[in-house]
Symmetry: C2
Subunit: 159 residues, 2 copies
Amino acid sequence: MSDSGESEPRWLAGDQLAAWRAFMRLLQTLPAVLGAQLQRDSKLSFIEYYVLAHLSEQPERRLRMSELAILAGSELSRLSHMVTRLESRGFVRREPDPLNGRYIQAILTDAGHAHLVDSAPGHVGRVLDVFVDVLDPDELRTLHRISDKVHARMEREGR
Amino acid sequence: MSDSGESEPRWLAGDQLAAWRAFMRLLQTLPAVLGAQLQRDSKLSFIEYYVLAHLSEQPERRLRMSELAILAGSELSRLSHMVTRLESRGFVRREPDPLNGRYIQAILTDAGHAHLVDSAPGHVGRVLDVFVDVLDPDELRTLHRISDKVHARMEREGR
DNA sequence: GACCGTGACTTGAATCTTCACGTCAGCGTC
DNA sequence: GACGCTGACGTGAAGATTCAAGTCACGGTC
């Protein structure tokens, strides 16, 4: 109630409401379905998978915690706990950044990389199956554009 | 790794990969942003808000737990804990279904309804601001269609 | 070169979710 | 009408996330 300005409260109706509801349902279901597959087959949550994936794409498979948090779309605190757990499973380890002791780097271990390689086909297969294959190229392009627009909007004001 | 069949592992690339990444970022950010607004202004999580909202739309503002779980896209167990908490805040109460003792109905109290009415403008304002207003009618239509298609696909096989 | 501020990260407690059972009502079967 | 099955909920413990401090390194300032 604080910052939306005090004009007439606007409302959702008609097509807008229907589209929002359909999209919100997707917002709930898609991560649940993909997460369930990962959990079942690889004992990883959705976000854990992408933490490993992002690390694997970095040179030397290492990245500062704070940058990893941004890539993974997670708060630093959450990431810290998460990395502690991944560390105890042997998938990741930590090292202070040699260049600047304020930073800590998370590093993907060989075991972590191997686990990712094992997990990827199942996950990607599901993404293709349930998402990509369902959409034609035009829809995919539109969705890409929509995602960028909404994201940009959130970045800007209000957060 | 269990059920995706063992053909050549297919992969994501190019436009598909880019679109998936952009969309996944949205999947992470949008609920976080909307949830943060609700938490800050109304002390409700995203899903709690929609539990109250769905109840408010039912005749007599009551609904079986199991149906509410489906509407809210939640597991029954999670909903049960959640309703316990909402109950302790006076927003909801439970009653056995008079027609069949196996079912339990969750009922929106007056206090719960009042809280929802207070919370709605802020939340809806944010949805308009960050989502609906950013898209043109055509994009909105396409997104609606995409959501339905992907959801239908998830419903069908594999879940 | 001590002092203060800031930013990066960690930590512990509180909260929420998930998981694996436990309970209990109704339904069919013999 | 006992018996066992099923489906709807509830619950407690384990696991994950969030919140509010706490630490610790660096950079500037005097």
